[in-house]
């Protein structure tokens, strides 16, 4: 185990200890801690610092950083690296995210473990590069064509930028699926004190390897009970084939068979849906006896929390439900909570995206939406006013 | 000044000296030389006429010089042998006496007179007088000429890489001249490389040749162009422009001749070098000691024909990656000063002699096949095995003169076969002493140094020499043994001998492709078909064309020693030229009389050397003297008398015609003969003492193309009974193709004669090579009937020919 004193000489993979750092850097360090050794990206505000930090750190620890010609290529390279057996990621923001959609689809179809960090900014199009936003939440869910389920995590602190990036990799490896870290400009650029655990205390998950030896009958997409196929990688002798076409368990194209299409696409969805319980994480604050609930994620959740505290100080029974996992959406948790509260307040830095999911889950319980666009995040009092409002 | 002026102005001060030569009895034997001399004295402007025994002797030459000085002679005529022999001698004499050498003329009263009319002294004498009259008439009109000097390129081209070519190339290169050695085959070495041992010394042929071959390969001054052919030779002595086609080997110079490629090649064919006794592949080297050692791909055999590579076995086998099917043929353009033709010879193919059964009986083979068979490096590893059963025969018969000295093959003796057989018989004795060996011969010719000893040795070793060739060979179908049947002409008894193997001692014949080189270098050939030297005695290695020399079997059948000797001689001759660095070319070139030229370009069209440019703006042509070779076909073509030939002007030729026809023209044949073929042919008739009628008067032109219709018409107008125009055979023309114009002109004349009702047979056209003395003689004989048939009326009619024309 490396001690703090020797750490100066030898570049450490995990920079354990308490340090003061930014969200983007914490994200990068989290990736390294999770075992990421390949980063392909393209400069874009406000995610650039992740690339820059990876460019500095990866060579030190034997990894590869490459700046590709665009985000399409970055995403393709990430898939390639993952298929060559290396944990890989990319980081971008709205415009780049759009370009990545094509190969995110490929990653979904070929069940490629990889992590895509989207430090959200104001859109559409080039929008406001240096301003925060939460506008890509739905794109993350539906952006690529076709039917699928993905996983997205929403950090709301620098600490979480580290922790959730580690978790993103673990989920990607567990379910063979691209996992998004949906941060935003504020969290990405924010500096906070964080604690990085010792390497061995950080839980790392690696993809399942095939238990059968290489053979002509090897079926690279034959799932286990958890619906996730063990993953062979290039160079191990399995001589397997993967394609973006609808394929059978051998990985061979099945472009005419309805049965094959149903079988494959169903499984791609189900391997996430049926493991929801294990995937979804929500954080509750003072929700037990709450009469008014706030549902918020990312940066908005921080203002929401102080709003709830202020409300309690004024004797209003308010509480907070924060989906840490944005996708799959924590429908049950919200539904249960909705049955107990009088109303739900949903602040989002967009014109209404997650709020639709909340409304769907809340059924009759009224939902008040607090949109926010541009430079400033929500102020706690704005949310408090909304809480007071529904209290009347 | 115009010709007329110059003539009239000369007339006053012309002082001509005439010398009539006895040439021992060569001339005096059938010509009354004193009488001819006395006659000469009576001719206009002749200030002195003498006869002497040998005009070409030192005293003879001194006498002429003395006379030129003392009697202020400004023109000289020597009546003796052919100008082709001694004109240079007497021209030099004139020059030494301060007289321009172009003011000299010869009357050929030996080859064209005394020798061909041995038994008609009177008629011969009369003809000699005519010939002198003609010479005097011409000399009176001759003008001093200055010869132009041209530089000589210091580079030699040797065509043929046999032992002769190799020797010539090495000698020239060692002298310090750049040499291009062009060889058709993939390797140099030629026939000598195929032979096992050489006579009479019995040393290993390739062992003594190989070092020379590699010397050639390494020599800094030699550029070796194998697998190459001469495409074109333009220009003239010292300044040839030669095009050589370098055919691709498809293997680069980096080839280490490791031989890994050949065995994997899937296609095979009989190996030419081993005369088909061994097999080779499409990629091969002809023999172990080949130079260059680089392998070569026979694309006709190789599977990779067109633009695609179907088979890559050799490419794969070649570690050094030297095989490149993409190499393209290239044409090199070389500036050459001198050329040595050493193209060698073929061997006679005895298949045509059915009675010997070659190609029918497996155990009948040629002496060349024998060489490969007996050669330790050959297909049988030196074992003398019979193809029928691969066994060593207990008896062997050699048959001499196969294809030589016989009507069925060639008439000449091939020179090497006797000694070669003797050598071969000894080789057999050396390895298998008990073998019974018969040699059936016509004569044994062991003329050379050490030859007789070898012959004796063979007899001592028990080789049986039987005089009288077998009339036929009969094969025992089962055993493939051979019965030889013939007559022993010494014992006058029939023999019937059984042997295990027969070796046909085949002769040497001219290469089938000789005509190509002949055309390229404008050479002549003897009736045998070998290339003819400029003079059989005095210039034996010079070709008639300046700057071209001959070596080896291309000139005549000869053994290795003679080939090497001749090669060194040729190299020496070429070196002399190049060492001088320049050469003077005869001033016999065309001359423009600008006032008459209308720019009609007729001349330009017929010039074989593109020596005439058209200057449209001036409506005139201009002549390029350096390129002009002096055939004169331009002036013959010019309708406006705007071009004439130096030393063969219209006036000079008219004068000769008039002189020839001064007396009883109606009995005479006026013959125009070209210098290189017909005139030389007439000389050859003389040398061979072929007798023909005396009434022919030969006028020499450089080329039959010089013979303008007006000359023929002049002859008829003067009442000549018949006219002969004679030149080289088509293809042999010394001026490429000028004689085609001759043909056209004569045909035009024939039409004209028919139109005006003249018997066109009175004008004859004949192609006579320098070797065809016989043909000239017979032509003249045949023409007698015409001469006799011509009536006085016809003569009168033809006298008006010119006016009508």
């Amino acid at each position: 185990m490396t001690t703090a004193s020797t750490s100066v000489e030898k570049p450490r993979v995990v920079r354990s200890g308490r340090r003061f750092t930014s969200g983007d850097i914490a994200c990068a360090e989290g990736a390294l801690a999770a075992g990421c050794r390949f980063f392909a990206g393209y400069p874009i505000t406000p995610a650039t610092e992740i690339a820059e930090h990876m460019a500095r750190r990866l060579p030190e620890i034997g990894g590869v950083y490459i700046q590709m010609e665009d985000e399409i290529a970055s995403m393709a390279a990430v898939i390639g690296a993952s298929y060559a057996g290396v944990k890989a990621m990319t980081a971008t923001s709205g415009p780049g995210f759009s370009l990545m959609m094509e190969n995110i689809g490929l990653a979904l179809m070929t069940e490629t473990p990889c992590v895509i960090v989207n430090v959200m900014r104001g859109g559409p199009s080039t929008g406001q590069p240096t301003m925060p936003g939460q506008q890509d939440v739905m794109q993350a869910r539906w952006g690529s064509h076709g039917d699928y389920e993905i996983i997205a995590l929403a950090p709301s602190s620098v600490q979480e930028m580290f922790d959730l990036t580690v978790e993103a990799f673990n989920l990607a490896e567990t379910y063979r699926v691209p996992v998004f870290v949906l941060a935003d400009e504020i969290v990405g650029h924010m500096w906070e004190r964080i604690t990085i655990l010792e390497a061995e205390s950080i839980k790392i998950v690696n993809r399942k390897k095939p238990t059968v030896p290489p053979s002509n009958e090897f079926a690279p997409f034959k799932p286990d009970e958890d619906l996730v196929p063990p993953m062979a990688v290039f160079g191990e002798g399995y001589h397997f084939h993967a394609t973006g076409l609808t394929h059978d368990e051998r990985g061979y194209p099945r472009t005419e068979s309805a049965e094959a299409q149903t079988r494959l696409v169903q499984r791609l969805c189900n391997k996430i849906r049926e493991n929801k319980g294990r995937i979804i994480r929500v954080e509750n604050a003072m929700l037990e006896d709450a009469e008014v609930a706030v549902v918020a994620y990312g940066i908005a959740a921080r203002a929401a929390l102080s709003a709830v505290r202020k409300a309690r100080a004024k004797g209003i029974k308010a509480g907070l439900l924060r989906p840490v996992t944005l996708w799959p959406f924590s429908e049950e948790q919200v539904a249960q909570m909705a049955r107990r509260v009088k109303a739900i307040v949903v602040p989002e830095m967009n014109c209404g995206q997650i709020v639709r999911e909340v409304e769907r889950a809340a059924k009759e319980t009224p939902v008040i939406f607090l949109p926010k666009l541009g430079e400033e995040p929500h102020k706690p009092d704005e949310i408090l006013d909304a809480i007071k409002e529904v209290q009347k | 000044m115009t010709e007329l002026e110059s003539q009239t102005q000369k007339k006053e001060d012309l002082r001509i000296g005439v010398y009539v030569c006895h040439c021992g009895l060569n001339i005096a034997g059938s010509v009354d030389c004193e009488q001819v001399a006395e006659f000469a004295a009576t001719l206009p402007h002749v200030v002195l006429a003498k006869d002497n025994r040998y005009t070409c002797s030192d005293q003879g030459q001194e006498l002429i010089k003395k006379d030129i000085r003392e009697h202020r002679l400004n023109r000289v005529v020597v009546a003796s042998c052919s100008p082709r022999l001694h004109e240079p001698t007497f021209r030099r004499v004139c020059e030494e006496a301060g007289l321009n050498k172009y003011l000299f003329e010869m009357a050929n009263i030996r080859e064209h007179c005394s020798w061909v009319h041995l038994y008609e002294k009177e008629a011969a004498t009369e003809k000699a007088e005519d010939l002198v009259r003609m010479a005097v008439a011409k000399v009176a009109l001759l003008e001093p000429e200055t010869e132009s000097v041209v530089p000589i390129t210091n580079k030699a081209l040797v065509i043929g890489g046999g032992v002769a070519g190799i020797q010539a190339a090495l000698d020239l290169a060692d002298t310090g001249y750049k040499v291009y050695l062009v060889e058709k085959e993939p390797s140099i070495g030629g026939r000598m490389a195929q032979i096992d041992k050489t006579f009479p010394t019995m040393d290993c042929s390739i062992c003594i040749l190989a070092p020379k071959m590699s010397d050639v390969g390494r020599h800094p001054n030699i550029e070796l162009l194998t697998n190459s052919e001469v495409l074109e030779v333009k220009g003239y002595i010292g300044n040839f422009k030669v095009k050589v086609l370098k055919k691709p080997r498809y293997v680069t110079k980096d080839c280490s001749a490791c031989g890994d490629c050949a065995p994997v090649c899937p296609v095979t064919t009989p190996n030419e070098f081993d005369v088909g006794l061994a097999t080779r592949h499409a990629i091969y080297t002809p023999f172990a000691q080949a130079v260059p050692s680089t392998y070569i791909i026979d694309r006709n055999l190789c599977l990779n024909k067109e633009n695609i590579i179907v088979c890559d076995k050799c490419i794969k086998a070649c570690e050094r990656k030297t095989i490149d099917f993409n190499i393209k043929p290239e044409t090199l353009e070389l500036d050459i000063g001198t050329i040595i033709v050493a193209t060698g010879a073929d061997v006679y193919n005895p298949a045509s002699l059915v009675n010997y059964g070659y190609t029918k009986y497996p155990n009948v083979m040629t002496s060349l096949e024998f060489e490969r068979l007996i050669n330790a490096g050959g297909p049988s590893g030196g074992r003398l095995i019979r193809p029928s059963d691969m066994q060593i025969p207990d008896s062997v018969a050699f048959i001499q003169c196969v294809g030589s000295r016989s009507e069925s093959g060639h008439l000449y003796c091939s020179n090497v076969c006797c000694m070669n057989t003797i050598k071969d018989s000894l080789l057999i004795k050396e390895h298998w002493p008990d073998t019974k060996i018969y040699v059936y011969y016509v004569d044994i010719r062991a003329y050379g140094k050490g030859f007789e000893d070898l012959y004796k040795r063979a007899r001592k070793e028990g080789v049986l020499f039987v005089r009288g060739l077998p009339t036929e060979i009969v094969e025992n179908k089962k055993t493939h043994e051979l019965w030889l049947v013939g007559e022993n002409t010494l014992q006058k008894e029939v023999y019937k001998t059984k042997v295990g193997m027969v070796i046909l001692s085949i002769g040497i014949e001219p290469r089938q492709d000789s005509d190509i080189i002949q055309r390229l270098c404008t050479l002549s050939r003897t009736p045998d078909g070998f290339f003819m030297e400029a003079h059989p005695k005095l210039r034996p290695v010079d070709a008639p064309t300046g700057g071209v020399f001959l070596a080896g079997c291309a000139e005549s059948p000869k053994d290795i020693k003679d080939s090497v000797t001749q090669a060194s001689a040729a190299a020496a001759r070429a070196s002399i030229l190049m060492a001088q660095g320049k050469v003077t070319v005869e001033a016999i070139t065309s001359k423009l009389i600008s006032d008459n030229c209308t720019g009609c370009q007729m001349c330009a069209k017929v010039c074989p050397f593109n020596a005439i440019n058209v200057v449209p703006e001036r409506k005139k042509v201009e002549l390029i003297e350096a390129a002009c070779s002096g055939c004169g076909t331009c002036s013959a073509e010019c309708p406006f008398n705007a071009i004439t030939m130096r030393h063969f002007t219209d006036a000079q030729l008219f004068a000769q015609i008039d002189a020839a026809t001064e007396f009883d023209a109606d009995k005479k044949i006026v013959a125009f003969c070209c210098n290189w073929c017909a005139y030389a042919g007439a000389d050859f008739a003389g040398v061979s003492r072929m007798q023909y009628p005396t009434n022919v008067r030969i006028i020499r032109t450089m080329c039959s193309g010089r013979v303008a219709p007006k000359f023929v018409e002049r002859a008829f107008a003067r009442g000549a009974a018949a006219v002969l125009v004679a030149g080289c055979h088509f293809g042999d023309c010394h001026y490429i193709n000028a004689n085609y114009q001759t043909q056209k002109r004569v045909e035009r004349l024939w039409k004209k004669m028919e139109k005006i009702g003249l018997n066109k047979n009175r004008l004859q056209l004949a192609w006579i090579s320098a070797a065809e003395g016989e043909r000239l003689a017979s032509t003249v004989k045949e023409m007698q009937s015409i001469v006799n048939s011509v009536t006085a009326e016809e003569i009168e009619k033809s006298k008006k020919m010119t006016e009508r024309g």
Partner: protein, 92 residues
């Protein structure tokens, strides 16, 4: 060189090119005809039988002509033809 070679070379047996065996995987053939068209020895021809794919696979006209250059195998888009050297131990 002039003398026409008419004899069977003495080493004819030693350097005899190996005998070939042409293998056609009939049902793989799609009938493009490249092997027939580009065989330098014209060993192949179109057969009149019809394979699974409904085309006429090539048939060997004269196996002895085959020089084993292997171009048929190299130019076949369908891995349907190849040649091997005949094992001539048992003589062929």
């Amino acid at each position: 060189m002039p003398v026409k070679t008419w004899r069977r070379p003495l080493d004819a047996d030693k350097v005899k090119p190996p005998k070939a065996e042409v293998h056609v995987l009939k049902d793989r053939c799609k009938g493009c005809g490249f092997c027939i068209e580009f065989c330098p020895k014209e060993v192949l021809e179109e057969s009149n039988e019809i394979n699974e794919r409904g085309v006429h696979p090539p048939r060997v006209k004269d196996e002895n002509r085959c020089a084993l250059c292997g171009f048929c195998a190299a130019v076949c888009p369908d891995f349907a033809i190849f040649t091997t050297e005949k094992n001539c131990k048992e003589g062929c």
